[in-house]
């Protein structure tokens, strides 16, 4: 369980985090999504106890991070942004340091380190110094350190940043697996990750929460959600045919492939009605598709309301 209530952070005159509150429960993967500089990292740092909030509180598994920092940090696994490590140590030495500093029992250390090395496929670099590792390996070493003590809450600041597509895939599977009985809070600006991983998403910009919804709910806000797209050679007559049809609210043509998007007001299926109408008016078309909502468009419209998507 991770709780943030009315968290605020000022850096001088700059209000980096502005009254952020949420609760993440076990089994939940809560994604903080937002543009760079939105206050995601500051929020996570406050919850993890690295910086003190200007006002508001955070609790981890019921322990207030400011009043009971050691207890709170004991049930937390935290991966800081950029996954800073001690470069002069080897992977194994580093994990052993973290195990000791966490006060893990001497005879369980060995086993837990081995499990973490195995889970993140780090066995091959166990005796290599961290400074010689690639970015992807470093990130996984940081993740291994964060999950080694099997914490009931995990805070991961951009966990898949710097990983190649295969590693991203593996880490996502790992996070999903970890989330079964744990609470996971992660930040990202990779939109596909939200769909792939999160059970709930909070969109932050300029330090404020702008949306708090499941990925499906966010997708439903997209104007592409259930829009119909077709390939036509004569887009002008297609538009003319469909204009004025009940429920049709607008058109858009992709400048690159010439695909015509028909936006509708209703959330029910309109593809067959549109096909029928086009056939009646003798407009040739191919490759009709019902579109899915687009998260990037929803993200843009929420975080930059003044810009047209």
């Amino acid at each position: 369980m991770i709780e943030a209530s009315n968290l605020c952070k000022n850096y001088g005159p700059l209000l980096a985090v502005d009254n952020i509150s949420f609760t993440a429960r076990p089994g939940e993967v809560l994604g903080l999504l937002g543009p760079n500089g939105a206050g995601k990292s500051s929020t996570m740092r406050m919850i993890a106890g690295f910086i003190a909030p200007s006002s508001g509180t955070a609790t981890i598994c019921g322990h207030n991070i400011e009043k009971k920092p050691v207890e709170a940090k004991k049930c937390l696994g935290y991966l800081p942004e950029g996954a800073p490590l001690y470069d002069e140590l080897t992977t194994e030495q580093f994990l052993r340091f973290v195990a000791r500093a966490r006060g893990m029992e001497r005879n369980s250390q060995r086993g837990k380190i081995n499990i973490a090395l195995e889970r993140l496929s780090l066995r091959g670099v166990a005796h290599q110094t961290i400074e010689t590792l690639s970015k992807g390996f470093k990130r996984r070493v940081g993740l291994a350190a964060a999950i080694m003590h099997e914490p009931s809450a995990l805070i991961l600041d951009e966990p898949t940043d710097g990983l190649d597509p295969n590693q991203k895939h593996d880490v996502r599977i790992l996070i999903r697996e970890l989330a079964k009985e744990r609470t996971v809070l992660l930040s990202t600006h990779i939109l596909e990750e939200v769909e792939a991983l999160c059970t709930r998403t909070i969109i932050v910009a300029n330090g404020k929460i702008l949306a708090d919804a499941t990925p499906a709910e966010l997708l439903a806000k997209s104007r592409y959600d259930r829009a119909v797209s077709i390939q036509v050679t004569d887009s002008i007559s297609a538009r003319a045919a469909l204009d004025g049809m009940p429920g049709v609210t607008g058109f858009e043509q992709n400048a690159l492939d010439g695909r015509l998007y028909v936006f509708t007001k209703t959330k029910s299926r309109t593809d067959e009605a549109i096909a029928e109408r086009l056939r009646q008016r003798h407009v040739a078309f191919t490759d009709m598709r019902v579109e899915r909502g687009r998260l990037d468009e929803v993200f843009r419209s929420i975080t930059m309301p003044e810009a047209k998507a």
């Binding site: 690295f50 050691v70 940090k73 002069e88 500093a101 006060g103």
Partner: protein
Amino acid sequence: MSPTIAIYRRELRSYFSTPLAPVFIMIFLVLTSAFTFYLGDFFQAGQADLQSFFLFHPWLYLLLVPALAMRSWAEERKSGSIELLLTLPVTVWQAVIGKFLAAWTLIALTLLLTFPIWLTVVWLGDPDNGVIFASYIGSWLLAGTFLAIGSAISALTRSQAMAFIIHASVCILFLLAGYPIVLSMMQVLFDQSIVDAISGMSFMTHFSSITRGLLDLRDIAFFLINSIAWLLATVLIIDLKKAG
């Protein structure tokens, strides 16, 4: 206690897995020998003691301890690993003490490695080993106080070069506090009672009274209390930076 030990061991390992520890030890040994034999007239003095050896320790520490202490927090801040360290279930005190003790251990080891010079006087004459032992303790305490100052200054900045310069300047001020160069300046600014207090803070006065063979509890307490005060300042600085 176990987090302190974990941090202590990691720090010590870092000193030895980088060239820092070997270089520090080598330079200290080379410079102490050079100073003792050339500048200190070890042979010409004709006395079986290590006065001329310990005489130069404060000045060597002035150069070498900032080099050791500057990295302790500034580097953590620069590399970002401080975020990892302070989000482990570790109190700031434990981290500060662990780091301090690791550096102090390295200095103890360096001092132990100067034993050939002690063997030399034992072989050449019949020195007062009590005085030599007291001087070693005094030298170690002085280095510890320098380290504690360095820890606080290193916590203030993310630039190691800055930490080095400020640390060396603060140390020289404390070393020379009993000397006219500092006191005459202070006399212009402050009342005589404050000037006396400042002169009482001189590291040199306390150090030389120990190296004369008087292992006075007050001198030991002076260095220990000073160290603790600076370590406390380090904790406060780190806490303040957290709120910043």
